[in-house]
Amino acid sequence: MNPIVIAPVALGRDRARFAVRRIQSVKWRSVALFLSALVPFWLLIDVMAPQTLYAIALLVVLLLLYLGWSYYVVERATRFRAVFGTRGLAVAVTCYIGLIIWLGWLRPSLLALVHLGAVVLIFVYYWFIAFIAFFHDQVGRSKYVPKPPYPQLTVLIPAYNEEGYVGRTIQSLLDTDYPADALEIVAVDDGSTDGTFAEASAFAAASERVSVVSKTNGGKYSALNYGLLFASGDIIVTVDADSIVDPDALKHIVAPFAADEDIGAVASNVTIWNRDSLVTRCQQLEYTIGVNIYRRALDYFGIVMVVPGCLGAYRREVLSEVFAYDPDTLTEDFDVTMKVLRAGYRVSVSDARVYTEAPATWHDLYRQRLRWYRGNYMTIIKHWSVVTDSSYGYLNRIALPFRLVEMFFLPLASFVVLAYIAWLIAAGHVLTVLAVFVFFTSIVFLIAALGIQIEGEDWRLLVYAPLLVVGYKQFHDALNVKCLLDVLTAPELGWTRAARIEQVVASPDAGAIPEPTASASPSPAPTPEAGPPTETETESETVADTDSK
């Protein structure tokens, strides 16, 4: 037969095969969950007053215009980058509120405003997060595939009183699937008063790849800065002394550096291993649908805002350029990431996985988050110029506004909503409140299911979805508000530390560190007891909000 005649047929077959393959590669469970998560939104639209719908639609149009314009000025026309920036957006939103009140779409009251804001945020936030997560899952988990040659790597492990933990962390690093001749592990003992130094030294004695340096106690930032003096690698990886890295984590975390020269730092995915209590399971669900997926969304713009202290990687020269870690915030991981971003580098996320021990009691969680949230506010205030300076591109136009809403509007709005709910209950509308609760729980439930499906997490975590609507959520909102007030009234705050499970078992008083006080300027010669501990629990990412109303 004439090959010219056959060709189109063959081509057609190929296309059909290709199409079949494409269809087979679609992850249908995610599709089903993503589509089902849209059902409650659709129902909500159906019962909304037309005016509210117009108001929402107008705001969504405004935000889309802003996003589109941001893309255009960052990618194509940087000469216009000062036009319609964050200030412009703030003015536009204010005008928008005035306009919808004038049009009668919104009653001029705080409650109505918060109500509208919450609904829009739920729409934008959940839909956006769900969509990005879904998209990520469909196109493949990461665009960076690890391949040789692997760069010279130095892992820094800052440790203060991490006996019983630091050895495990070092062993997990030695167990990683990374070329032995390219890996150097430096444990930094920050003046521990327990057996941390001895525990790490035993590994240093047994392996050429491990070394231990010790110094006077000075805090985590100080330990990391000190450790850098002994690091010879081109890539610096920081690992908390209570974390356990996945065997292929190091390969994954260096992959983005090879792929893109503009990448200055790379984040990992944090997983909690001690899931044996309500409070740790809630945290895992929070990590699954909040932190990890949220980070993937920002990855598209190269503006991941926190490289978690549990496991993160930096180019050596980038860390040197920004003079590494500063002493002036409580969340040095968020701070240093902001510095890297401000220096003009992209910050990306990898598929590297790290296991960490989450605070196991509400009290410990409280102390951990006290530090994170205070540190978050301190860092945002420290880097406030990013909010106003349009030369920071996506960081200025997208990441910061999003973050500000999350840190300032949502926690406060949550309490307005709570007061309204209390009023509804007092007025006898218990059923309505119950209905609202069930409704929003079902949204969170479906989104959580999508997150669990994508992250390959444990389905039992779904049981905790209602707590992300009521209970766990308000705990964090209240803490956020408290921390904001703390930072505004006493800018210099000390560390708060959660007790360690395995140390508590050994010594019941290990975690009993007194309530932080507003400390004076850094003490010139801190004694081991008085100095800030080189706390290893980090990752100051604000958790994605599960606002229900």
Binding site: R29, A32, S36, P40, L44, D46, V47, M48, A49, Q51, T52, H115, G167, R168, Q171, S201, A202, F203, A204, A205, A206, S207, S211, V212, V213, S214, K215, T216, G218, N225, Y226, L228, L229, I244, W273, N274, F323, A324, P327, Y355, H429, L431, T432, L434, A435, V436, V438, F439, S442, I443, F445, L446, G456, E457, D458, W459, R460, P522, P524, A525
Partner: protein, 474 residues
């Protein structure tokens, strides 16, 4: 604490010297010598008290690298790695581990099917949850949108009354006039004639009834459907002319019931206001209306002033609230004069064609201003059929806009009367205060009262909510 090695770990040189590592206040960590010319991070000169000594280490004089204790160099044979135990780490593979082992299938395909079934269950549970509470939620955004009732204060109250709505007649004018109220978002009471001259029953005009029902549905609380007599014929000469006044009670009751029957069939929610044709009615009418559960009667103030001796615009008599019109839009005196003139000129045909003249706009606005200044209730009566030109419709629009420019509250006649009764409308020292939206507030009050009557305390909030839902959703 110091840790000085004997050998450089990099070049194995044994020429090492001690180096002090310091930290500056700004957080910069470097060997002491580096701070001699100031801090390279913060570009400041450095004084000794700004530095904190972190450690003293070895610096190789050959290769300049820093070194601390070096363990492997001190021993000929490296000791084995210490043993550590790891906790059980969660992994993707043990997703189904929480199921008892006997339920987890062996084959990969079966396990995938099980996972898929789990996903389906989860999404069904989620969707079912959302859908099942939707009926309860429907009222929620509506009440939020309509607003929880809030007190508003006004200097005066304005009620508009559009009389003579009837089958077949001047339907375009009716729509034009109603559109004014829709556009201005001002409530109005429609006086509906059930069977004009006994020849045009409402129910024969399906378009009119459909239209009236659409007004009730689309603009809840804005259009009141009031009964305006039965045939609207001048049956007696009571105060000049009346359909009800001076008739025996039985006859009045029959007319009322016949009218009610037609109106009930035509609209969703007939109101409890009665508008007697020709604005006249007697005590018998009041008692018949009372028996039939009416709350309000709206005649003319010229008539009530004369017949009921009332000094107030709004008054109660025989358990009924009397809210007579205080300002006709049409100039009936001028009209009568023209009719007389025409009759004198003995041209009856001409008298039929006389257009009912309107009061001029100034008279109408002055009348409102006067009532407004006195914190009074101003009831404007008009007849839609005379709004035959754009200019005439515009005059109505201008009047409505004029009243809106002032701090006046707008209600239907029934809302005003029921508001007074339920306490959602109150007279104050300098005007009025109204719980708005009035129809929502009244419905809630009535529901609460009904629930209290039944003595079922548990049900009252739900009942009132259900009632609000019903009212708002209608």
């Amino acid at each position: 604490m110091s840790s000085l090695p004997s050998t450089c770990p990099v070049c194995r040189s044994r020429t090492l010297t001690a180096a002090h590592i310091d930290e500056h206040d700004c957080g910069h960590v470097a060997p002491e010598d580096d701070f001699a010319d100031g801090c390279e991070k913060c570009n400041r000169q450095v004084s000794a008290d700004e530095l904190t000594r972190l450690q003293t280490v070895g610096r190789c004089l050959e290769c300049d690298s820093l070194a601390t204790d070096d363990f492997d160099l001190n021993l000929d044979v490296a000791p084995p790695l210490p043993t550590v135990t790891f906790p059980t780490l969660p992994s993707r593979a043990d997703n189904l581990n929480w199921l008892p082992a006997r339920y987890v299938p062996e084959s990969r395909l079966a396990r995938q099917l099980l996972s898929s079934a789990l996903v389906v269950m989860v999404l069904l549970a989620g969707i079912t949850g959302a859908i099942s509470v939707m009926p309860m939620l429907e009222s929620e955004p509506a009440t939020v949108a309509a607003g929880e009732p809030e007190w508003e204060e006004y200097d005066s109250i304005v009620l508009f009354r559009n009389d003579d709505v009837q089958a077949w007649y001047n339907q375009d004018e009716l729509r034009d006039v109603n559109q004014v109220f829709i556009d201005e978002e001002v409530p109005v009471t429609l006086g509906i004639i059930p069977d004009t001259n006994g020849e045009a029953p409402l129910t024969d005009d399906p378009d009119l009834c459909t239209y009236l029902q659409s007004l009730e549905t689309d603009y809840p609380g804005q259009f009141e459907m009031a009964l305006h007599g039965y045939t609207h014929e001048p049956v007696t000469e009571f105060y000049g002319a009346s359909e009800f006044g001076d008739l025996p009670a039985d006859e009045q009751r029959e007319r009322l019931e016949a009218g009610e029957e037609l109106l009930d069939e035509c609209v969703h929610s007939p109101s409890s206001t009665f508008i007697p044709p020709m604005n006249t009615y007697d005590e018998t009418t009041v008692s018949v209306l009372e028996d039939a559960n009416y709350t309000t009667v709206s005649g003319g103030s010229w008539f009530t002033d004369a017949h009921f001796d009332g000094n107030e615009t709004v008054f109660e008599d025989g358990d009924l609230v009397h809210i007579p019109e205080t300002q006709p839009f049409e100039n009936w005196t001028a009209y009568e004069e023209r009719v007389l003139e025409a009759e004198e000129s003995a041209d009856n045909n001409e008298s039929d064609e006389i257009v009912v003249p309107f009061e001029d706009l100034e008279t109408l606005t002055d009348s409102f201003d006067e009532a407004h200044a006195a914190n009074d209730v101003h009831v404007v009566m008009f007849h839609y059929q005379y709004f035959t030109t754009d200019e005439r419709v515009e005059q109505l629009e201008l009047l409505v806009q004029h009243t809106k420019d002032e701090d006046a509250g707008f209600l239907t006649i029934e809302q005003f009367a029921l508001g007074l009764e339920t306490g959602t409308v109150e007279q104050t020292d300098d005007g009025w205060r109204v719980l708005e939206p009035a129809h929502v507030a009244i419905a809630a009050e009535q529901a609460e009262a009904a629930a209290a009557d039944r003595g079922t305390e548990d049900g009252d909030a739900e009942q009132s909510l259900a009632n609000i839902t019903q009212r708002v959703g209608r």
